[in-house]
């Protein structure tokens, strides 16, 4: 089964890498770029969520990645490449400030989810409150640069496409690294029972912090790329509760326990959103979101493992039945 999966993944990757060479359509490239970018963010989210550390506030890290480099560039002309590093470090610092007390005081499960949700809301409120600098809810447009490459601005949109691919591959690589290390074992044990794990000498707080910080850093990288690619950001699109929830929905749709789940979920979601938007959006404002929300509800009720998870479970079941009959 892993061989099939590997071949399939290889084919998808080859398809993604070759696509811009065969399709010159700006629209197709744009859609796939968004797909890759949000897949990366969803993967970063699932990196920690799969161990039961479910954050509903990743928008705050996304927002830091989007706003910090953009503001530093607009006001001080600092290259967003350097801004990106600052944004990543800032996200890591916030992850520690937030994560340490949460893990120390054993805020777990849905309580952790609620705390992070509140933090996401604080993030977007701070952006709105600093409206003199950030433009508030009207959003922020990134200035044009005269030094395109040095300032993370490329006239050829395919550069963003390949950057998004590289980011996604980085996220998947880190996922694999965690899977193969003892970090995964420790976190799985913690997910089962914190008390049992800690009594066996597992440092619960450090392991949880590690994966939270990695996830936050990757998410902020996604924010940087999104902001530099779209060149316009506002609190609704890169911070706050709405985008935080949409990131988890994407990952959960695909299945957050499988390495390719977030990618599959995001691809389906981005395409579905776009399809509904084009076919119905202009006639009934809001209808696409209603269908979308209802689909999510049905999915959470009937397919709680997500698409990839359910298919994998189905295949495994069939496999067992086959073997059992022999």
């Amino acid at each position: 089964m892993t061989a099939t999966k590997l071949t399939l993944s290889g084919l998808v990757l080859a398809g993604i890498l070759l696509l811009p060479l065969f399709f010159s359509s700006q629209y197709v490239i744009h859609m796939v770029t968004l797909m890759l970018l949000w897949s990366f963010v969803a993967t970063a989210w699932a990196l920690m969520a799969r161990f039961g550390i479910v954050s509903l506030g990743h928008g705050v890290f996304l927002g830091m990645g989007a706003y910090i480099p953009a503001l530093l560039f607009n006001f001080y002309g600092l290259s967003p490449w350097i801004g990106m590093l600052i944004g990543i470090v800032a996200a890591a610092v916030l992850a520690v400030i937030l994560g340490y007390p949460c893990f120390r005081f054993k805020v777990i499960g849905d309580y952790f989810a609620l705390v992070t949700l509140a933090v996401a809301e604080v993030g977007s409120l701070v952006i709105v409150a600093l409206r003199d600098q950030t433009g508030g809810s009207l959003g922020l447009t990134i200035n044009n640069s005269t030094r395109p490459f040095l300032d993370f601005q490329f006239s050829d949109k395919r550069v963003y496409y390949y950057l998004a691919t590289a980011f996604l591959l980085l996220g998947l690589y880190i996922w694999r690294r965690i899977d193969k290390s003892k970090v995964r074992l420790a976190l799985t044990a913690i997910g089962e029972s914190e008390l049992a794990a800690s009594s066996l000498g597992v440092n619960v707080i450090n392991y949880k912090l590690l994966v939270t910080v990695i996830s936050a850093m990757l998410t902020s990288m996604g924010g940087v790329l999104y902001a530099q690619y779209v060149t316009y950001i506002n609190p609704e699109t890169v911070s706050g509760v709405g985008v935080s929830l949409s990131v988890c929905f994407k990952a959960i749709l695909g299945g957050m326990f499988d390495i390719l789940g977030p990618f599959v979920g995001t691809s389906i979601m981005v395409l579905l959103e776009e399809y509904i938007r084009i076919s119905l959006g202009s006639k009934y404002v809001g209808l696409s979101e209603v269908i979308f929300g209802l689909a999510l509800l049905l999915l959470i009720i009937f397919l709680p493992k997500g698409i990839v998870g359910s298919i994998t479970a189905l295949i495994q079941k069939g496999y067992q039945v086959e073997r059992g009959s022999k």
Binding site: D110, E121, A129, C248, L294
Partner: protein, 286 residues
């Protein structure tokens, strides 16, 4: 400035009454069904829109429109239980949370489809009462008195009627309550209906105060959360007290700084309470 702060203080107390009612519904549902109703504020928004439609579009007199709004919200609460919460009762906590979060998307966008993004309101010319240097809006005063009356009725209901006692019994110990012959399914339906009716009642009190738009509900969901957590989840008295604390604190902060800072303050209180005192102000450490 002193008058402004005095006025903010009084408004905070008055609004605190309505917030107490709002948080009461969320708290009751959490206490009984053990589910966090993420879309609670959005239901208030929906109730507001329904009252608006009954009155402004269909021409029903306002008091009757409010009664119809409360009734519709109670029915909607029953449907929420039937279609959404019941299938999820045995699901992991997180799935429940996410399902109710996707309900936010559905409700907000249904409102967007039906009523559009414009601000809607029912213009009412209510007098402003002057006491010395301080002005009090009678709409706030009516909402406060109404909320206190409803809370009193709820107190009587929960302490003096069979159904109310059954609700409290299920909240305290589900298995023992079942052993005493209480059917939890019925209690859940009643709780969700009561919670739904409360969103309608809160909406009715908001009608003279605010105008409504599709994203009207989210700030009230958050406000209700903050209050419930500060008072201790499932602790009804704690929620009542913390509603006034939050009402006054946010009202004064909004006057001195800005509404965003007030909201940030409330959320920071929420996070700190979750970290340091998860059992809430009045809770007993388990």
């Amino acid at each position: 400035m002193v008058e402004q702060i005095t006025m903010a203080f009084i408004n905070g107390i008055l609004l605190g009454g309505v917030l107490a009612l709002l948080a009461f519904g969320l708290n009751l549902i959490f206490g009984v069904v053990k589910i966090i109703h993420m879309a609670y504020g959005q239901f208030v928004m929906l109730g507001f829109y329904l009252i608006y439609s009954f009155h402004a579009t269909m021409g029903v007199p306002l008091p009757a429109a409010m009664a119809l709004g409360v009734l519709s919200m109670a029915i909607l609460g029953i449907f929420t239980q039937l279609l959404l919460i019941r299938p999820l009762l045995k699901a992991p906590r997180l799935n429940q949370l996410l399902a109710l979060a996707s309900l936010i998307i559905v409700v907000e966008n249904v409102a967007m489809m039906i009523w559009g993004a414009d601000y809607r309101g029912i213009p009412l010319a209510l007098p402003i009462i002057q006491v010395g240097e301080v002005f009090i809006r009678s709409s706030y005063l009516m909402a406060f008195v109404g909320a206190i009356v409803v809370l009193g009725l709820l107190y009587v209901f929960l302490n003096r009627t069979y159904l109310g006692l059954a609700i409290r019994a299920v909240a305290q110990d589900l298995e023992m309550a079942q052993g005493m012959g209480i059917n939890p399914a019925t209690v859940y339906y009643v709780t969700l209906a009561a919670g739904g009716a409360l969103t309608g009642i809160v909406a009715a009190f908001f009608v003279p105060i605010y105008t409504v738009h599709p994203h009207f509900g989210s700030s009230f969901t958050i406000m209700a959360f903050v209050i419930v957590v500060l008072g201790g989840m499932g602790n009804l008295l704690g929620g009542f007290i913390s509603a006034f604390i939050i009402g006054v604190a946010t009202s004064i902060t909004a006057v001195v700084y800005s509404t965003e800072v007030a909201d940030i303050l409330a959320l920071v209180v929420f996070v700190l309470v979750m970290l340091i005192r998860p059992q809430g102000l009045l809770g007993v450490r388990a």
